[in-house]
């Protein structure tokens, strides 16, 4: 029946256009659901029936009225056994109409007996809703914790077991850190103010890498300050990553929701805040090995380059040498050929006068001139006996 105008409540004016029962109940449901938001209702339980399927059906009543309720298994399974008839409860519920029966009904999402701190729980839910409205519970707000914190602030009681546990874990895992304790009461009168002031102090402590806020286990009342909306807002405003660790309980507090990380116990918070020294030393050892290998690599590269240069140099010198040797050989061969001794060996003779001048013409060899004649194997004295014939 798409296209129905929800707010057209005029209905069918005549018998001809009569609505079916299905149409009128669906319209009633749509009107109820769009007109009444999810709300908290206080009342007394009666006639509760827990079915095999796990769903609970009951009536919520007070002196003047009553309303049928259903609580689905997925919503009631974390509550434990169903409350007895006559229990006064707060329920958070969505009003609707059960079309099959034409019955106005509440679909209950949350149920808290008023006797078991129901009012507190109600306040808590309201505070949570207010924080959510301001975006303080958004997952995108969560900041990553630092890998190697140097200075860790711990906001807790200086006398509590929580601090002892935190110090022992940090001492064992990451003793390179400094722990700065920001003392505060964590329960009872004045704890809320002190805790807010301590968180505000974190803005002014220099160089803090991460903050742990928490306390050891206790009763619901003992832990209650960690459910204060003021404390949660003060925690959300802390400018560094925060870890919330409240008690040993599975109960989640408001500070758990607002912090960057929720740890189930103070010891677990410390474990999350710091790395393990052994594991980090392994990383450092790995880097040391890589450093050694990388230098060897660089040296190899250097010596390879050197060897290549050497080879090239040797080649160049070799070729140079070869070339010069060939030239020397050629020159000496020519020198050899030109040697006067070689000429004399072929039968020539050199005539020189007494002053050693070579006598190269007939004119120089006048008759009667004494001169020396050099032949291949020595010199002899000679005389010109006759002029040119």
């Amino acid at each position: 029946m798409g296209g129905v105008d929800l707010f057209d409540t005029s209905g069918s004016a005549s018998a001809e256009g009569a609505w079916s029962v299905r149409e009128v109940t669906r319209r009633a449901r749509q009107l109820i659901e769009s007109g009444l938001q999810r709300c908290w209702v206080r009342g007394e339980i009666s006639g509760l029936k827990a079915y095999q399927s796990g769903h609970w059906y009951f009536t919520l009543r007070d002196a003047q009225a009553q309303v049928r309720c259903v609580m689905w298994r997925t919503d009631n399974q974390r509550l434990g056994p169903p409350p007895e008839d006559g229990t006064e409860v707060f329920v958070e519920a969505r009003p609707t109409v059960w079309e099959e029966r034409g019955e106005f009904r509440l679909t209950v999402k949350t149920l808290i007996p008023t006797a078991a701190g129901g009012l507190w729980q109600l306040q808590l839910e309201r505070a949570k809703a207010a924080l959510a409205r301001d975006g303080l519970l958004d997952p995108e707000r969560k900041r990553p914790l630092p890998a190697f914190p140097q200075r860790i602030a711990v906001v807790t009681s200086p006398d509590g077991a929580a601090l002892r546990d935190i110090l022992s874990v940090i001492g064992r895992r990451w003793p390179a850190a400094a722990v700065w304790v920001v003392p505060t009461r964590v329960q009872g009168e004045g704890a809320e103010d002190e805790l807010c002031a301590a968180l505000e102090r974190l803005h002014r402590i220099p160089d803090v890498d991460v903050a742990i806020v928490g306390r050891g286990g206790g009763s619901r009342e003992d832990l209650w300050v960690f459910n204060s909306e003021r404390v949660a807002r003060a925690l959300a405003a802390v400018p560094i990553p925060t870890i919330s660790a409240v008690g040993h309980e599975t109960d989640v507090t408001l500070t758990d929701l607002v912090a960057d990380l929720r740890a189930p116990t103070p010891s677990a918070a410390a474990e999350a805040a710091v790395p393990d020294r052994g594991a980090v030393l392994d990383t450092v050892d790995g880097l040391a090995r890589r450093l050694g290998r990388s230098l060897t690599g660089q040296l190899d590269m250097g010596s390879q380059r050197l060897a290549r240069t050497e080879d090239r140099l040797a080649g160049v010198i070799g070729r140079l040498l070869e070339r010069s040797t060939a030239r020397v050989d050629a020159v000496s061969a020519r020198l050899d050929a030109l040697s006067p001794l070689k000429v004399l060996a072929r039968g020539y003779a050199v005539a020189r006068d007494g002053r050693g001048r070579v006598l190269k013409s007939v004119a120089a060899l006048r008759p009667g001139l004494d001169f020396r004649l050099t032949v291949a194997d020595g010199e002899v004295d000679a005389r010109v006996t006759k002029g040119e014939s």
Binding site: A147, I170, V179, V181, R201, V284, L287, L291
Partner: protein, 75 residues
């Protein structure tokens, strides 16, 4: 508040950068040796930061004028 010693994070980051440079870059041998020496120094410092350490625990005190000071905490 003096910042005396280098932090472990600083040393580790430097060391990683040096190793990467030596692994990836074709560098001058002189520079490589210099980097290596620096790497060894950082390595030593990083190790000693972890090994010799003992957790320092202090108590934060806010003074009347709002300034922060620390004192020994008896545990």
């Amino acid at each position: 508040m003096k910042k005396e010693r280098p932090t472990f994070r600083d040393e580790l980051e430097h060391l990683e950068a040096i190793v990467r440079a030596l692994e990836e870059r074709d560098i001058d041998l002189d520079e490589a040796l210099k980097l290596f020496e620096e790497g060894v120094a950082r390595l030593k410092s990083a190790r000693s930061l972890l090994q010799d350490a003992e957790v320092e625990v202090k108590r934060v005190i806010e003074q009347a004028d709002g300034t922060i000071k620390t004192a020994k905490l008896d545990t």
